[in-house]
Symmetry: C2
Subunit: 531 residues, 2 copies
C-alpha cells in the first residue's frame, strides 16, 4: 500500500461548518428515525448573516504591522473566517450571526523573521495576538480576551518540510503545515507522520504541538507531545530552540512546558518530530465484546502488555448500536446485535505485523473477544475523518450534538463513564430534552485511558444555554471524579476554570510566573490557558 | 523466577567509597597488568582524616528546626556522611580530607507534615536546605551554595509503599524509599518497578524522579521520568499534587517541570509511578557485532521497530576488550576476540517473550550479529551493579578513573563518540597521562541514544586538577556537537555552566521565573541547577 491511502486532501473548512463543503454528509433515514425517537422533528432556524464589528486598530498600528513584511488585512470576510473554532457553541454563535469575537486584523507572516517582527510591534503597541493555523479548536482557543485590540496571527504560510533526518527519523516542519501536506511531503521521501486526530484534514503541525493532540494511532506512534523532539519558539524576549536530544537529564523537560501552552508563552514556528518509514503492511480488524466493561478490560490488557497494536478503539454499546464507527452507515445496525465494537489495527513491516497480530489475536480471544474479520476495521479506517461531518446536518435537523472528552486511570474508568453520562443526561433531562450519550475509548496507556463522549438531544430555543448547563455538569463530574478536564481537546477558554481548579494554586503560580517572564506585556493569546 | 533475582540488599555505602563495604571488589591480575601498560604503578597516597567545619547554625535556629518534630543533629560524623556524592572528584576530595562542603546540620523529618514545617522554618530564617536521600549523585547535586547556612534535609525516613493500584498499575511511594526496598515491597504483591540504574543499591524513588534517572531496562519499562504519573511537592508556598491522569491536554505537563528540578523548585515527598507484574520469564543473551558502527546500527534498528526487547546494551571495542560488562572477570578476555558485545534481555509472560525474542533474533541476525547464547547475558545481569565497585580499588592502585555520559540523535552518534573520546584523550595526553576511553550505549530511543564513557588514566599528584581539564574538554566537545550535557546523571553543580549554555537565555528566564515564584527566598538547594 502507498501513502495515498492516508493522504486526504487538505480541506479549507467553510467558516461555521465542519469539513469539506464539496463533500457534505447527509442524514440517512435510520438516523432521522433515531432523531424522531428523541423528539427531534423541527429543523433549526436558518442561519442569519454575521454582524462583524469594525476593526479597532488605527492606521498607524496597521502600518507598523505591514512594515514587518507580513500581509495585513482588516477585511470583514477574512476576519470572520478567523473567528472562533468548531465547537458546537462556536457553530451555534455563527448561525446566530454573532461575530463579536472577530479579530481586529488578520496578519499573515511568510517567514519566522516576520513572526518575530510582528511580536515586536505588538509588544511595543500593546496589541494582543492569537496564533491561527488550522482553526479547528473546539475549546475556545481562538477567543482571546478582547480588552485590548487583537490580531489573528495567521501562520498558514509558514509551511513545508524544512529538513528530514532519515537516520534519526526526525522531520522539521514549519508550524503552519497542515497534516495532509505533511504526509504528502514525507510520503515523497518514504516516510510518514502517522498522526490522525479527528481534525486531521484541517489541523497543523504547530497546532497539534501547542494543544497536545492525540491521533487515532496513539498506541502505535504516540501522542503528538510524545513525538515532538524539538520546537522553535518566538517570544517577545527572543527566540528559543527547545530540545537538544531525544531525552535528557539536563533539568526539567522544557518541551513539555511549551507543548500544551496554546500560544500563551510564545509562538511555535518550527516543530521537530519523530516520523517513521511508510509501513509495508496495514491491517485493521473488528472485534466484538459482549459489553463495555469486558471490552475495556481487554483494552487495558493490551495497553499494559509489551506487544501492542498500532490502533485500538472501543465503542460502547450506545455508539456501537448507532454504528458511529462507520459514519457512512451511521444509524443502521451492522455486525452482531448488542455488545461493543473494537477496532484493532497493525502497521509495520511484514514480520513485525505478523508477530504483533498473532500475540494480540491470542490475547483478545482469551479475554472474551470474537473476531469480526477486516471489514469493520476497514470501514472504520475509510470513514474515520467523516464522523464530525454529521454534526452540521444534525444541527440543521434541529438536534443538539456535541462531544467532550476526559482521561483518567484504569481503576476509575467505569465510574467516570457512569458519572459523566449521568451528569449530562441529568442536565439535559432537567430541561425536558432526553439525550443519547455515546462513548468510546481511543487512547490507552498502561495506567489509564481517555473517554470520548458524543451527546445528541433535541435543541431548545436557546441551545447555547441548554448545552452550557450540560457541559458545566460534565465538567463538575470530571473534576469530582479526579479526572483531567481534557485528554486532547486542550484548555482554551472553555476549560480554563476547571483546569485551574485541577492544577491548584502552586502550579498556577508556576505557570503565571513563566507567562509573566516570557510575555511581560501580556500580548500572547491573552486569556487563553490563564485568565 | 522470583523477585529475589532482582532484589539486592539495601547497601549503606561507606562515605567516600562506593558500594557494600562488606563485599569489596579486588583487582584481578589482568586488570593490574592493564594498569601497568598505562604507566600506573604507584599506589595513591593514603586518605587523610576529614577536617569538618563547625556548624554555623545557632541554638535558636536548631531549636526551631527541632520544634518541627524532625530529628536534628550537628554531629560531625553524621554531617560528614551527608557530604557530597560519589563522583571521582567527590571521592578524591574525601581522600584529601576536604570536608569543607559539610552541611551545618542534618535534619531528618519522619512525615511529610514535618517536611513542610522544616521548609517554613528555613524560609523564615533564610536557611538553605539540600534534600538528601540516596546520596548517590555524581554531579555535585549535594553541594549547594554555602553563602548561607545549609541543612541536609535527610528524607530517608520517608519510606514505604503508601498505595498500590493493581488495576492501573500505579504504586505510590514515599520519596525516601530505596529502590531495593521498593522492589521488595512490590514483590510481596506480585509487582515490580524494574528500574535499575547503576546506583540501584543506594538510590531512592524520589532521587530517581528529581534527577531523571534511566535504568538498565529503559527500552522496556521507560526512563523514570516516563514511569512517573504523579508527584507530591512541598514548597514554601504550599503543597502541590502534580499529575491528574496518565496523559492530558490540560496545559503544559508540569510533572516534567518538577522531574529534573533537583530540589530547586520544591521537595518531592511522594511519587506515583507505573509498575508491572513480576515477569514470568526473563532471558538475557549476548550477541557479537564486528564493530561499534555495526552494533550501533543494529541498536538503532531495534529502537525504531515496534517490537522491542526489555534490555539493550552495546559495549564498544575497548569496553568489550576489557570485559567491563562482566565486572567479576574484568580485564580477562571472554567470547570472540575483537568486536563488540551486545546484551539483549527479555522479560514478560511466555507468549510475549517468545514473540519478541523471535522477532529480535531475526532482526539482529539480518543486521550482522552473531548469537553468543545466554551466558554473556547472564554474566552481565549478575554483575550489573558491581562495575562501579572497581573504582575504589582502581583509585587505591594509583589510577584516575571516572565516567561521563551524554545523549544525541542517531545521525550524530558516531561523531559525538569520536569527538568526546578525542577531547578526553587529548586533554589527558597533554598532561603526560595517556588514557583508555571505553564507551557503551545502554539507553536507546527511536530518534537517538545515550553514550556512556569510562576513562582510565594514571593519576597525577593533583588528580582533581588533572580530571578537571579532561572533564572541561569533554563538556566542550559535547556542547560543540550539539548533544545534551547529561542523559541521566543530571545537572547538579558540575554541569550547571554547560547546561545553561545548552538551554539558552529564554529557557533560563523561564526556569528562573519558576524558581523565584515557588522559592522567593531562595532556600531550596541554592546553586543547584541554577546559579
Amino acid at each position: 500500500m502507498t501513502t495515498s491511502e492516508t493522504a486526504v486532501d487538505v480541506v479549507d473548512f467553510t467558516p461555521g461548518r465542519w469539513g469539506n463543503p464539496n463533500d457534505p454528509m447527509h442524514l440517512s433515514d435510520s438516523v432521522i428515525g433515531a432523531l424522531t425517537m428523541l423528539g427531534i422533528n423541527e429543523a433549526a432556524p436558518a442561519p442569519v448573516d454575521l454582524v462583524i464589528p469594525a476593526s479597532r486598530l488605527d492606521d498607524a498600528a496597521l502600518a507598523d504591522l505591514a512594515a514587518t513584511g507580513a500581509q495585513v488585512s482588516t477585511d470583514d470576510t477574512l476576519r470572520a473566517a478567523r473567528l472562533r473554532g468548531f465547537s458546537t457553541p462556536d457553530l451555534l454563535k455563527f448561525r446566530a450571526g454573532d461575530a463579536s469575537d472577530a479579530p481586529d486584523a488578520v496578519v499573515a507572516p511568510t517567514t519566522a523573521h516576520q513572526v518575530a517582527a510582528v511580536l515586536a510591534v505588538c509588544d511595543a503597541a500593546g496589541i494582543g495576538l492569537s496564533p491561527y493555523a488550522g482553526g479547528t479548536t473546539v475549546t475556545g482557543g481562538l477567543v482571546p480576551d478582547r480588552t485590548r485590540p487583537i490580531i489573528s496571527l495567521d501562520l498558514r504560510q509558514l509551511t513545508g518540510l524544512i529538513a528530514l533526518d532519515e537516520v534519526s527519523q526526525i522531520a522539521t516542519f514549519a508550524a503552519g503545515t497542515r497534516l495532509p501536506d505533511a504526509e504528502r511531503l514525507l510520503g515523497e521521501r518514504g516516510f510518514e507522520l502517522g498522526h490522525f486526530p479527528q481534525s486531521y484534514e484541517g489541523a497543523t503541525v504547530g497546532g497539534c504541538a501547542v494543544t497536545r493532540s492525540a491521533g487515532q494511532s496513539s498506541i502505535g506512534y504516540g501522542r503528538f507531545d510524545e513525538m515532538v523532539v524539538g520546537l522553535t519558539l518566538a517570544t517577545p524576549g527572543g527566540v528559543a530552540e527547545i530540545g537538544t536530544a531525544p531525552k535528557s537529564a539536563a533539568g526539567p523537560d522544557l518541551r513539555q512546558l511549551i507543548l500544551g501552552s496554546e500560544g500563551a508563552f510564545g509562538v511555535v514556528t518550527q516543530v521537530r518530530v519523530h516520523v517513521h518509514p511508510v509501513p509495508a503492511v496495514r491491517r485493521f480488524y473488528g472485534w466484538h465484546f459482549p459489553d463495555f466493561v469486558a471490552g475495556a478490560a481487554a483494552m487495558r490488557a493490551l495497553a499494559q502488555a509489551s506487544v501492542k497494536p498500532t490502533v485500538l478503539r472501543l465503542s460502547d454499546e450506545a455508539e456501537t448500536g448507532l454504528n458511529l464507527a462507520n459514519p457512512s452507515a451511521a444509524g443502521s445496525a451492522s455486525g452482531p446485535v448488542g455488545g461493543c465494537l473494537m477496532v484493532v489495527g497493525f502497521e509495520g513491516d511484514q514480520a513485525d505485523v505478523e508477530c504483533r497480530d498473532a500475540y494480540v489475536t491470542a490475547r483478545l480471544t482469551e479475554l472474551g473477544g470474537t473476531p469480526l474479520g477486516t471489514e469493520p476495521g476497514e470501514h472504520w479506517r475509510e470513514g474515520r475523518f467523516r464522523g464530525p461531518y454529521l454534526r452540521d446536518p444534525l444541527l440543521d435537523a434541529g438536534a443538539l450534538v456535541e462531544t467532550l472528552e476526559t482521561v483518567t486511570f484504569w481503576s476509575n474508568i467505569d465510574k467516570l463513564k457512569a458519572d459523566v453520562t449521568a451528569a449530562v443526561t441529568g442536565a439535559l433531562g432537567e430541561q425536558g430534552t432526553p439525550a443519547v450519550v455515546m462513548c468510546h475509548i481511543s487512547h490507552v496507556y498502561p495506567t489509564g485511558a481517555s473517554l470520548y463522549f458524543t451527546v445528541i438531544s433535541n435543541a431548545l430555543a436557546d441551545p447555547l444555554e441548554q448545552w452550557g448547563k450540560a457541559k458545566a455538569a460534565a465538567n463538575a463530574a470530571i473534576r469530582a471524579a479526579g479526572a483531567s478536564i481534557t485528554h486532547h481537546h486542550a484548555v482554551g477558554t472553555d476549560h480554563r476554570g476547571t483546569y485551574l481548579e485541577e492544577i491548584g494554586d502552586v502550579q498556577v503560580t508556576a505557570l503565571r510566573a513563566v507567562k509573566n517572564a516570557l510575555d511581560p506585556n501580556g500580548i500572547l493569546n491573552p486569556g487563553i490557558l490563564l485568565p
